[in-house]
Symmetry: C2
């Protein structure tokens, strides 16, 4: 299977529109050894069939950056489906850009679907009866996608999206990871995880939550009072310690917040990540699994 | 006043994600004399105060393309307000990307605000009481923005957004144009108009609906059955004929659909537009009015 990282930043992207932290200032000015990143999304393909894992606000820019995702006919798309790991805006907002009456297949848990259905804008994807087809992701149940691709969703500790917190009761289905299998090859995609205890260990490639380096990252930078754990993100520095024994050929971090020092290619934190056998995901990176 | 065209394409952008028409294929391949464009939005500034006219899905990319719109402090924005001309997704979706707890001032008619409030995602801009401040645009009433900038909204014939059509009664406030004034200088911004009869004629600069060249553009290309008039867009070829006598120093088309032949820099339609004293808007163009 082909795996292309379309976007590797956390919500807000890197740089973030209203952020003048050292990382954002440095990447804008070109004075920092760091690359700009769009928001987290992955394309997985088998032959001419492609699936998006999450659908970022920057989906149009992301699709235009990768020819295999572009149309071959006057109205067309090789995207056979979109799988969502939660209802956060950085993972869902792009759905509303995939309109123009194009049929879409969207894979979600019932909880994530219910959250999306609280938006009148969803009607834009339902101009005809057949435009939007929902497929249900059932935890721990493997289902076929297309070609030889199969998916198994698994629960991960996470939060209800911020914009639903006041009105929706938390559920095990709010936040999931995805295991994508092609024959004996397995990709684990887990861009948001409050703990990593439930993470399957049998991956050939792991794309893991790399939002924050440390639990108190935003507090130290004076950019907020919330800890990584308050936002349901397990810090990178803990992950590399806890997963030392994990026997996985490729391990990468994605969904990286603009404040995270691992974005800086000559930082001690970046060196620590790489010394532990991990890579820091970046946009346009292609992996063969 | 400074005016910067952030995006000049109609909904879907140019190229459009699911479109393989001659224009989209050509601009992707680099074989056509045409430039890619993001979706319609304009920045208007006076000194260090900036306003966005509409907020496209690509707002992050647009803000990063123009340094005066970027933050000067750890959490900051020089954007003093966002004015919406209607509730169409290509004009509103970007609002949901301007989060991260940053205070926002959004200027709309009551009808457009009511449409936005039908989306649970709007809560993401209302995490604290002071985060989102609504300001009401009252037709034909001039109100101050910041610095010496003033705005007068005016009704234009248009449609209820597609995603609200089934549930909302049409209103005169669904679709408006904006007159932005700085002393004696006037910008008229009218990116969507089913007819141009109501267009104020006293502009120093006019940014007009350039969605389609002709009424039957999509039908001729086999890309749909709807006419420009069904979608509340007055064709460019009619506008240049009807506004021949308009005495305006700068006249530009914006909100240009991917199928429009005026996008092609060596097309007869582009030559006709330019021969009539108009320009075809393009991203990053800066105007001094």
């Amino acid at each position: 299977m082909r795996v292309r990282l379309l976007g590797t930043a956390a919500g807000g992207g890197f740089p973030q529109w209203n952020c003048g932290c050292a990382n954002c200032r440095g990447v804008r000015a070109g004075t920092l050894a760091a690359r700009a990143r769009t928001q987290d999304s992955v394309a997985v393909g088998d032959g001419g069939d492609w699936f998006l894992l999450n659908c970022s606000p920057e989906v149009r820019q992301q699709l235009e950056s990768f020819a295999p995702l572009q149309p071959r006919a006057p109205r067309d798309s090789p995207i056979r489906g979109i799988l969502l790991t939660n209802g956060d805006l950085d993972h869902c907002l792009g759905l509303f850009s995939l309109r123009e009456a194009q049929p879409l297949v969207v894979y979600t848990t019932p909880a994530v679907r219910a959250g999306l259905e609280r938006n009148a804008m969803l009607q834009t994807l339902q101009r005809s009866r057949d435009q939007l087809m929902w497929k249900t992701l059932i935890l721990d149940e493997e289902q076929p996608l297309a070609g030889e691709l199969l998916v198994t969703p698994f629960a991960l500790p996470g939060n209800v999206p911020l914009h639903l917190k006041a009105t929706v009761a938390p559920s095990l289905e709010d936040n999931i990871g995805l295991r994508i299998r092609h024959g004996e090859r397995r990709l684990i995609y887990a861009p948001g995880a409050a703990t990593i205890d439930a993470l399957p260990r049998d991956a050939d490639c792991l794309l893991l939550d790399g939002t924050f380096w440390s639990d108190d990252e935003l507090i130290r930078l004076g950019l907020g009072e919330r800890r990584a754990s308050d936002m349901a993100h397990f810090p990178v520095r803990e992950s590399i310690a806890q997963l030392k024994a994990m026997n996985t050929r490729q391990k990468l971090f994605t969904h990286i917040n603009n404040t995270n020092p691992i974005l800086v290619e000559d930082s001690p934190e970046r060196r620590a990540v790489e010394a532990a056998g991990w890579r820091v995901g970046e946009d346009h990176l292609e992996l063969t699994i």
